[in-house]
Amino acid sequence: MLSRVHPLAKLVACIVWLAASILIFSAPFQLAIIASAVAALVLIERRSPLLVLALMVPFALFGFGFLTTSVLFRQESDFALQMAGETPFGREAFSAGVVLFLRAIACGLVSAVFALTTDAGQFIKALMADWRLSPRIGYALFSAMQFVPDLAAEAQQIRLARAMRRGRPPRRIPDPLETASLIVPLLAYAIRRASRAAIAMEARGLDAGISRTVLGAPLLHRRDIAFLGIAFALLPALWWVSRLTP
């Protein structure tokens, strides 16, 4: 359902939610944001709870860094400590660390909601059509997205070519030395590929000095306005609920 929302409406909502998560230094509020994001992914978007849990891992590791820093270097986070002093997590430093930890997960999950429910192509088209993103940048982003899987295939072919020269099959996973040796040829490939794409785009009229049509850009519907209204209304509601937590 969220996939059908206009990408820019979703982007605005996510930015506001991220800002709220950054500005409101309250563990219950962060927990409420996390719960909302998980509910959106699992209940509305029907994503696997395991996937959502897996998504939390890198953000949790990142947040854990904040937690340990707050506990070990408390004198450097006076403001946070003061804010966290009112929270029920025992020691001030630990409380501040917990809030920072939860904030990292909350921000990560809000970003994940956007990334998992937004078609990258539609997002870039919407940016070009509605926010006047330069087509040069827009199509550079398209090319970059095309390029990522090609780069993996290119790396594999280079590995195969080298393995053939050596006369034995390649390892399943390259060792650090082999990985390092792939950097230069892959960089050279990336440069060649980028210049070919740039030449082709120019030959086909990109940036010819006239305004261009953007075909298939998503249109703003009433449901997008309704989505924004709900997203904005939900924030104060979450804040109010989080204040009730003892």
């Binding site: 192509g121 398209f142 095309q146 090609d150 740039a198 010819a208």
Partner: protein, 552 residues
């Protein structure tokens, strides 16, 4: 400028920075309005460079020193940027895989039209029309271009080109990776332009093109352009010159030359093998018998025979194999295929049938999803030759290949020079591999993989793409020599004449498995099978039919 030609080069020469010699020129060439011109030349002769000067990509985007003058419809190209010429000139580059701009098939076709700020409804109509023209289903609009095979990407690039409706189309090897039936259809589509729309086409596969163009021009050894006139006269008049330059000669023209060498002159220079057969039929009885002998020798020379060294010993075998490309889904199921020593096998099929996947699985370079593979690892010459280059110069690449094959450093020197000469790379020995033209890169990749003969099984994936006539001849000879030395060679190709000439056995891949497997002489003459599998009959077929009907 209403009567000015569509395009004109006046004494145009191009020299790239730090290059010792000009890449092309000074060359003069004119393409009239409504004219369809085929530009031929040996690989590395500067054809692509000359095309890139047409809208000013050289020197505007690609730095080079350009002399002379280029005009489009009478206007100096330097007065506008390359992007501003896009409404007048539609261009398709050699490697469409690396020049796709859109995320989806629909985006790709729409790209140039969006840049011209055409109304959305008009763009939608043209996308539908162009997809139908190239034979892509309407529901492919939303398909991701990165999920398509090489040939399918080429079809999308062609759809994007014809959707532009420009008065001049410039295409560089537009069908190099396409199956024969699709390639023939698309060549006709490209060249059957309405009104005064002109087409300039560069291709090494000239068999079908010869009958479709108005004029042929040639880039000569000194970089100049020679206007050869109508194709029928061109291939007869310039046969020896083309052969000396290493440019591909269509089989009917080659047969015509063989007949003329023995004093038999067909009433009309043939453009197709059907023309040649009609000419043979029309000969007086006295000459017809002699002509039949020459034609028979010609046909024999263009059909591979089983190598004398072919044995019963298997080099590699797949048993009930399920094959899948790297990180991709299974495309072939329950495949059983065995290759013997000294055997040459052509793997043919429509675009996206899974030919490359089968070949790489046979070589042991892709892990099977199910089933079993036996035999030592083989080597593969990739579709994109750049993937095989690791050294800083052509000579180093060849030297490394010989050293890897177990040759000691002292003996390698002479072998390296001999390999360079064999593949016409001696003059490019000091160049970096990435500086070479597409055809030269192909020759280098083949030189590397065949050096030292260390592989029991060699897989060559589309080895003729970008190769000129001399390159094809060298490859054909090399395949024969490898087979004679007991190596097995598997050839993935869309070039069925090359398959017939170099492989004794043919495997047709279709419908997620092997549709046919047998002697090339039988498989490639089975018109019903070829049609079912999206393949076109080899050009030689009418001659084989004629010889059978006129047995002595």
């Amino acid at each position: 400028m209403a009567d000015a030609p569509a395009a004109r080069w006046r004494d145009v020469g191009v020299r790239y920075p730090y290059a010792d010699a000009p890449a092309v020129g000074p060359a003069s060439l004119t393409v009239g309005r409504g004219e369809r011109v085929l530009l031929v030349g040996a690989s590395g002769s500067g054809k692509s460079t000359l095309l890139a000067t047409l809208t000013g990509l050289i020197p505007h985007t690609i730095p080079a020193e350009v002399t002379g003058k280029v005009e489009l419809r009478g206007e100096n190209v330097a007065t506008r940027t390359p992007a501003q010429w896009s409404a007048d000139v539609g261009q398709m580059f050699q490697n469409p895989e690396q020049t796709l701009c859109g995320m989806t098939v629909g985006d790709e076709v729409a790209f140039a039209l969006e840049n011209q700020a055409l109304p959305a409804e008009e763009i939608e109509t043209r996308i539908g029309w162009a997809l139908a023209q190239v034979g892509l289903p309407e529901n492919w609009r939303s398909r991701r271009t990165m999920q398509l095979s090489g040939g399918e990407k080429q079809l999308v690039a062609l759809a994007a080109l014809i959707a532009q409706h420009t008065p001049l189309l410039v295409v560089d090897e537009p069908t190099a990776h396409l199956a024969p039936a699709a390639a023939t259809h698309l060549r006709r589509l490209l060249l059957d332009r309405p009104g005064d729309a002109a087409v300039l086409i560069v291709d090494h596969r000239v068999d079908d093109l010869a009958g479709l163009v108005d004029r042929v021009a040639l880039i000569d050894a000194d970089g100049s352009a020679v206007d050869g006139g109508a194709p029928r006269a061109f291939f007869r008049a310039h046969h020896d010159r083309l052969a000396a330059l290493g440019i591909a000669i269509p089989p009917p023209a080659a047969l015509d030359a063989a007949l003329r060498a023995d004093g038999i002159v067909l009433a009309e220079a043939p453009l197709t093998m059907e023309d040649a057969v009609a000419g043979l039929e029309a000969l007086p009885p006295g000459e017809k018998a002699a002509a039949r002998e020459i034609a028979s020798a010609f046909a024999t020379a263009h059909q591979a025979r089983q190598s004398a060294s072919a044995s019963t010993e298997f080099v590699a075998a797949l048993e009930n194999a399920s094959c899948a490309p790297l990180f991709g889904p299974t495309v072939l199921r329950d495949v059983s295929l065995a290759v013997r020593r000294g055997e040459t096998i052509a793997i043919v099929g429509r675009n996206g049938a899974g030919k490359s996947t089968l070949a790489a699985s046979l070589a042991g370079l892709l892990r099977l999803k199910a089933g079993r593979r036996t035999g030592p690892m083989g080597a593969i010459s990739f579709q994109n030759p750049e993937n095989q280059f690791l050294a800083g110069s052509v000579r180093e690449e060849v030297r490394d290949a010989w050293l890897a094959a177990g040759t000691d450093a002292a003996a390698a020197g002479a072998k390296v020079e001999s390999t360079l000469a064999q593949w016409r790379l001696s003059e490019l020995a000091a160049a970096h591999p990435f500086e070479l033209s597409q055809g030269q890169k192909r020759r280098l990749s083949l030189a590397i993989i065949t050096a030292g003969g260390r592989w029991p099984l060699l897989v060559l994936d589309e080895p003729t793409a970008g190769l000129d006539g001399a390159g094809r001849a060298a490859l054909e000879a090399e395949i024969r020599s490898l087979a004679a030395a007991g190596h097995a060679v598997a050839l993935v190709t869309h070039d069925l004449d090359f398959a017939l000439a170099s492989c004794a056995r043919t495997v047709v891949v279709d419908g997620g498995g092997i549709a046919a497997d047998g002697p090339s002489g039988a498989i490639l003459r089975d018109r019903a099978l070829l049609e079912r599998s999206g393949l076109a009959a080899p050009a030689l077929l009418p001659l084989l039919d004629f010889l059978e009907e006129n047995r002595c």
